[in-house]
């Protein structure tokens, strides 16, 4: 039920109702545009460079790290989807 009167008690309760999300989650979500741009770069590189593509197919995480990219779980999953691995 919506609150009809704001008392100190229910305002305090509502303030407590939204604790912060873990910092790492927020940072990752905030960096989505950059992460997406980096994925586009990796896919473009894999399309243009057969050797890099071969390395990605062989061992995605290792090839990414060797090329200077981070290889966190979400990025790897998304890249596998995009590269149809």
């Amino acid at each position: 039920m919506p609150i009809t009167e704001y008392t100190e008690e229910n305002v305090a309760e509502l303030l407590r109702a939204l604790p912060p999300a873990p910092t790492g989650w927020v940072t990752a979500a905030a960096e989505l545009p950059r992460a997406r741009a980096e994925l586009d770069t990796i896919v473009a590189l894999a399309t243009a460079d057969a050797e890099f593509r071969r390395a990605l197919i062989e061992d995605l995480e290792t090839a990414l790290r060797a090329a200077g990219f981070t290889a966190d779980r979400r990025r790897v999953v998304e890249l596998r989807r995009r590269l149809e691995l």
Partner: protein, 188 residues
């Protein structure tokens, strides 16, 4: 903490969405900061998801929102649109867990009453953003970060004995803001 930039406090969701479409990364980060607690609360409090599932929902909700910004018909409706996507993701994951037999007791009914409460909490959070910096900080530290009077006093270089009265005064201002806005809504 949040509440750090002029953009954060002053820009409407519609303005931020328009900036995001134009490739403004800061605008996107502001939207994420503005709604991170809300999306987190829907997953963890509304649907009582465990942390790993809540993290998946959290990231997927923002990723979908980012990818589908062009399909948002009303830029100012970003919040309900994001909430709807988050709810669907929560329901999907609850059903998946139930079907996998991991959480057969999971109730996948949409907990609408709890979600209504979170909407109210977000309105209070918005009002908090309109208070002075001192009030925002002291209320946030006390109510959402659960800091003691002593910790707050040390951080803000205030005697611990004055913290309670400051909290009460700031809470009063927050109530005034909320009551004022409610009156405007009722009159219009």
């Amino acid at each position: 903490m949040g509440f750090t930039t002029v953009m954060d406090v002053e820009s409407t969701d519609g303005e931020l969405v328009a900036l995001c479409r134009a490739g403004d990364e800061r605008a996107w980060a502001t939207l994420v900061e503005r709604y991170s607690r809300y999306v987190y609360a829907i997953a963890v409090q509304g649907f009582r998801l465990p942390e790993p599932d809540a993290e998946d929902v959290f990231q997927d909700a923002f990723a979908r929102a980012f990818e589908r910004l062009d399909s948002l018909r009303d830029d100012d409706a970003f919040r309900p649109w994001l909430a709807q996507m988050t709810r669907r993701l929560c329901i999907d994951i609850c059903r998946r867990r139930r079907d996998e037999g991991e959480s057969p007791e999971v109730d996948v009914e949409d907990p609408s009453e709890e979600l209504e409460r979170l909407d109210e909490a977000l309105a209070v959070r918005d009002a908090l953003g309109r208070l002075s910096g001192d009030c925002r900080e002291i209320l946030d530290r006390f109510f959402t970060q659960d800091e003691s009077y002593r910790t707050i006093g040390e951080a803000l270089e205030l005697p611990a004995g004055t913290i309670a009265s400051r909290i009460s005064r700031c809470l009063g201002r927050l109530r005034e803001d909320l009551e004022g806005r409610k009156a405007v809504v009722l009159e219009s």
